[in-house]
C-alpha cells in the first residue's frame, strides 16, 4: 500500500521543510492520500476511536496527577478533594474512570472485529501481535490505575492480583515482595503503581505508533478479506472518506461515553471503592473491574493456584498465536460457514465467562466456569481443525466486485451468500 507519495508541496516554505524533514509529506501520505478499502463497515472505525480514547485518557490523567497525592494515608482524600474542590475535578475524574471502561469496550469490539474478518492472517501477523502487546499494556495500566484511589477494592484487588505471582515456583515470593516494595500491599506499592501508571500509557502510545506503522505497510483488511487489487477501483483516499466516517463514529461513541460520565458515573465501578482501604477488613466479594472478569473466571476455574495463573495467562497469550492457529486459507469468516458459527459461540462464551467472573466462586458457578474455560480454549483448537476441512463459500474477485454486486442486488448464488453474511457494503 505504501507506494509512491502524492504529496506536492504548495508553498516555498513547504518545499524548504520537505527537503529537510518530510514530516508534512508523512502526514499527507498516512492520513490524506492513504488508500482505504471502499467496503469497510463501522467496525473499522474503532481503531480511530481507540486512538482518541488513549489521548483522552492521557490528557485527563495528566490533569488528575496534578491534584492527586500517591501516599497511602492521603490518596483517598486527595481523590475526594478532586471530586469536591478542584474546578471541574469531578468531570476529569469521571471522564478518566469511565474512559478506562470505554477504552476496553472499544478494544474488545476492535479485537472481535479482527477475529471475525481474519485480520490477523498474513501479512498482518506483526500488526496483530503488536495489538496483543497493546492489550496487555492496557490491562496493566488499568489495573494499576484502579489501585490509586486507595479504596477497599483498590487495596484488595491489588492484594489478590499481585499475590498471583507467588504461585510461580522458586522466584514467586521474591517477585511479590519486589512488586509490593515490602511484605504487604502498602505505601511503597501505591507509590510504584502511580509511577508505572503514569509511564505505561506512553509505552502504549509508542506501541500504537508501531501498530499504525505496520498497518500502513500492509494496508487495512476489509470485510471480504480480499486484498486490494486495483487502488483506483477498490479504495478511496483516507481523507475525506475515512476521516469523516471516523469522526462521525467518534462522536456517536462520545455520546455513549458521556451518558455514563454525566448520568451513570459510578455504574462501572464498585461501591466498596468509596470505603477507604482497610487492611484489617476484607470485602465479602473481591471483584475486579468488569473488563477483567472473563480472565478472572478462568483464573478461579482451576482449583490449583499455579494452574489458574497459567490458564489465565494462556487465555491472553494464545491470541498472539492466532495467525498460526487458524489454518484456513480464507480470511473473512463471512465466507466460512462453520467458523462463523464458532465465532458467535466464542462471543457467547466470553460473555458467559464475564458473568461467572462476577459471581462468587462457589458451587455451580465454579463448575460452569470450568466448562466455559474448556470452551474458551476449545475455540482455538476448533479453529485449527475446521480450517483443515471447511469448504469456504466463493470469494468475490475483488473489493470493487463485491460492492458492485451488492449494488445490483445480487444476481447469483455466490453474491447472495456474500451479502447475507454481513452488511459489508454498508457505510
Amino acid at each position: 500500500m505504501s507506494g509512491h507519495s502524492s504529496y506536492v508541496p504548495k508553498s516555498g516554505i513547504e518545499r524548504w521543510l520537505d527537503a529537510r524533514l518530510p514530516i508534512v509529506r508523512l502526514m499527507h501520505d498516512s492520513a490524506v492520500s492513504y488508500p482505504t478499502p471502499r467496503n469497510l463497515n463501522y467496525f473499522w472505525t474503532f481503531g480511530g476511536i481507540l486512538t482518541f480514547m488513549l489521548v483522552a485518557q492521557i490528557v485527563t490523567g495528566i490533569i488528575l496527577a496534578m491534584h492527586y497525592t500517591p501516599q497511602s494515608t492521603l490518596a483517598f482524600n486527595s481523590v475526594e478533594h478532586i471530586m469536591r474542590d478542584v474546578n471541574y475535578g469531578w468531570l476529569m475524574r469521571y471522564l478518566h474512570a469511565n474512559g478506562a471502561s470505554m477504552f476496553f469496550v472499544a478494544v474488545y469490539v476492535h479485537i472481535f472485529r479482527g477475529l471475525y474478518y481474519g485480520s490477523y492472517k498474513a501479512p498482518r501477523e506483526v500488526l496483530w501481535i503488536l495489538g496483543v502487546v497493546i492489550f496487555l499494556l492496557m490491562m496493566a495500566t488499568a489495573f494499576m490505575g484502579y489501585v490509586l484511589p486507595w479504596g477497599q477494592m483498590s487495596f484488595w484487588g491489588a492484594t489478590v492480583i499481585t499475590n498471583l505471582f507467588s504461585a510461580l515456583p522458586v522466584i514467586g515470593e521474591t517477585i511479590v515482595t519486589f512488586l509490593w516494595g515490602g511484605y504487604s500491599v502498602d505505601n511503597p506499592t501505591l507509590n510504584r503503581f502511580f509511577s508505572l501508571h503514569y509511564l505505561l500509557p506512553f509505552m502504549i502510545f509508542g506501541v500504537v505508533i508501531l501498530h499504525i506503522w505496520a498497518l500502513h505497510v500492509v494496508g487495512q483488511n476489509n470485510p471480504t478479506g480480499v486484498e486490494v487489487k486495483n487502488v483506483a477501483k477498490d479504495t478511496v483516499p483516507f481523507t475525506p472518506y475515512a476521516t469523516i466516517k471516523d469522526v462521525f463514529a467518534m462522536v456517536v461513541f462520545t455520546i455513549v461515553f458521556s451518558w455514563f460520565v454525566f448520568y451513570q458515573p459510578n455504574f462501572m465501578g464498585h461501591a466498596d471503592n468509596y470505603i477507604p482501604a482497610n487492611p484489617a477488613v476484607t470485602p465479602s466479594h473481591i471483584v475486579p473491574e468488569w473488563y477483567f472478569l472473563p480472565f478472572y473466571a478462568i483464573l478461579r476455574a482451576i482449583p490449583d493456584k499455579l494452574g489458574g495463573v497459567v490458564a489465565m495467562g494462556s487465555a491472553i497469550v494464545v491470541l498472539a498465536f492466532l495467525p498460526w492457529i487458524d489454518t484456513s486459507k480464507v480470511r473473512s469468516m463471512s465466507y466460512r460457514p462453520i467458523a462463523r458459527q464458532l465465532f458467535w459461540a466464542f462471543v457467547a462464551v466470553c460473555i458467559g465467562l464475564g458473568y461467572l467472573g462476577a459471581m462468587p466462586a462457589e458451587g455451580g458457578y465454579v463448575t460452569a466456569s470450568q466448562i466455559f474455560t474448556v470452551l474458551y480454549f476449545g475455540f482455538f483448537v476448533a479453529l485449527f481443525i475446521i480450517g483443515l476441512f471447511e469448504r469456504p463459500q466463493a470469494l468475490p474477485n475483488s473489493i470493487a466486485d463485491s460492492v458492485l454486486d451488492t449494488l445490483k442486488g445480487g444476481s447469483g448464488a455466490r453474491l447472495a451468500t456474500a451479502t447475507a453474511s454481513e452488511p459489508n457494503a454498508k457505510g
Binding site: R38, E80, R84, I244, S258, V261, N266, Y355, L356
Partner: protein, 293 residues
C-alpha cells in the same frame, strides 16, 4: 449474521439468563432483603435536589446523626454552594460558629478552641476511632462523607442492563432509607440478640450495632404559614431527608453534572446528525464520480 449463528447467540444469552435466576436465592441465604425503591427528586437526567429537603436533612444530621457520625470531607462553606442546601452565607457563618473547633498551636505553642468558620470541615464527634469505639460498645460509627456512594445492593441480571437506560443508581439512598425504617423485633426462630446487637430487616445478616437512631417527632421541622410542618415529622420522612442530604454530601456537584450532561449530550447529538449527512454526501461517489455503493 446468519439465522443459525443468531440462534446460537440467543442460546448463549438464554444460558446466561437461567444461570442468573439462581442469584436471588443466594442473596436471601446471606440474609439480604432488597430495599424498596423510593422516589428521589435527584433521580434521572433532569434530577435536582430539593433545597428544603437538604436543609431538613442537615437539621437531622446536626441534631441526631452528628452525635456519633463524622463527615470530615464536608465543609461548612459547602452548605452555601450552588446545588446544595443553599443556606445563605450569613446563615452558614452563624451555623459554623455554633461549633467549637480545635485550632493551633498559637504563638504560645498551645492548642485552643475557637468558634467554627465557614472554611472549617464538619467537626468530628470523637477525637479518634478508638474513642468512638469506646463510646459505642466497640462499634465504629462510620464517616458520612461518601457513605451514600459506598452502600449498594446487588441488582443482578438483567436489571443491571436496564439500569443503564433508566439511569437507576439510587441503591445507596434506598438502602439508607430502608435501614433507618427497618428496625423491628427479631422474627421467631431468630437466634437471641446479644448485648450491643439490634435486629434490622435490611442490614445484611440482620444484625446491626447501631440502636434505632431516630423516632417519630424527634426532630422539629420548620413550620409553614399554617403553623404546621409541610412534611410529616416521621421516621420515614427523616430517613428520606437524611438520605438525600447524604447523597449531596457524597456528590456535591450532582446537579451541575446532570445539567452540563444534558447540554453536552444534546450538542453531540446535533453534531452527530450533521456529520451523518456530511458523511453520506462524501460517500455517495468515488473520487472519479462513479457511484460508491
Amino acid at each position: 449474521m446468519t439465522t443459525t449463528s443468531f440462534r446460537l447467540a440467543l442460546a448463549g444469552l438464554a444460558a446466561g439468563l437461567t444461570l442468573s435466576l439462581t442469584v436471588p436465592s443466594a442473596l436471601a441465604a446471606e440474609g439480604r432483603v432488597e430495599p424498596p425503591a423510593q422516589s428521589w427528586s435527584f433521580y434521572g437526567a433532569f434530577g435536582k435536589f430539593d433545597r428544603a429537603q437538604l436543609q431538613r436533612g442537615y437539621k437531622v444530621y446536626k441534631e441526631v446523626c452528628s452525635n456519633c457520625h463524622s463527615a470530615t470531607l464536608v465543609r461548612f462553606r459547602n452548605l452555601a454552594q450552588p446545588g446544595g442546601p443553599e443556606f445563605s452565607r450569613s446563615q452558614v457563618t452563624a451555623l459554623a460558629a455554633t461549633f467549637q473547633v480545635k485550632d493551633g498551636p498559637n504563638e504560645q505553642g498551645e492548642m485552643f478552641d475557637r468558634p467554627g468558620r465557614a472554611a472549617d470541615a464538619f467537626p468530628s464527634p470523637f477525637p479518634n476511632e478508638q474513642a468512638a469505639r469506646a463510646a459505642n460498645g466497640g462499634a465504629y460509627p462510620l464517616d458520612f462523607s461518601v457513605l451514600a456512594k459506598a452502600r449498594t445492593y446487588e441488582r443482578g441480571f438483567p436489571r443491571f442492563i436496564f439500569d443503564i437506560f433508566t439511569q437507576y443508581q439510587e441503591q445507596g439512598p434506598d438502602y439508607i432509607h430502608a435501614l433507618l425504617t427497618g428496625y423491628k423485633d427479631a422474627p421467631q426462630g431468630f437466634p437471641p440478640l446479644l448485648p450491643g446487637q439490634n435486629y434490622n430487616e435490611y442490614m445484611p445478616g440482620h444484625l446491626i450495632a447501631m440502636p434505632k437512631p431516630i423516632s417519630d417527632g424527634q426532630v422539629e421541622y420548620p413550620k409553614g404559614a399554617d403553623g404546621k410542618s409541610p412534611v410529616p415529622e416521621t421516621v420515614d420522612q427523616y430517613a428520606k431527608d437524611i438520605a438525600t442530604f447524604m447523597v449531596w454530601m457524597a456528590e456535591p456537584h450532582l446537579e451541575e453534572r446532570k445539567r452540563i450532561g444534558l447540554f453536552w449530550i444534546s450538542l453531540m447529538v446535533i453534531l452527530a446528525g450533521l456529520l451523518y449527512y456530511t458523511k453520506k454526501k462524501v460517500w455517495a461517489r468515488m473520487p472519479d464520480g462513479s457511484p460508491l455503493h
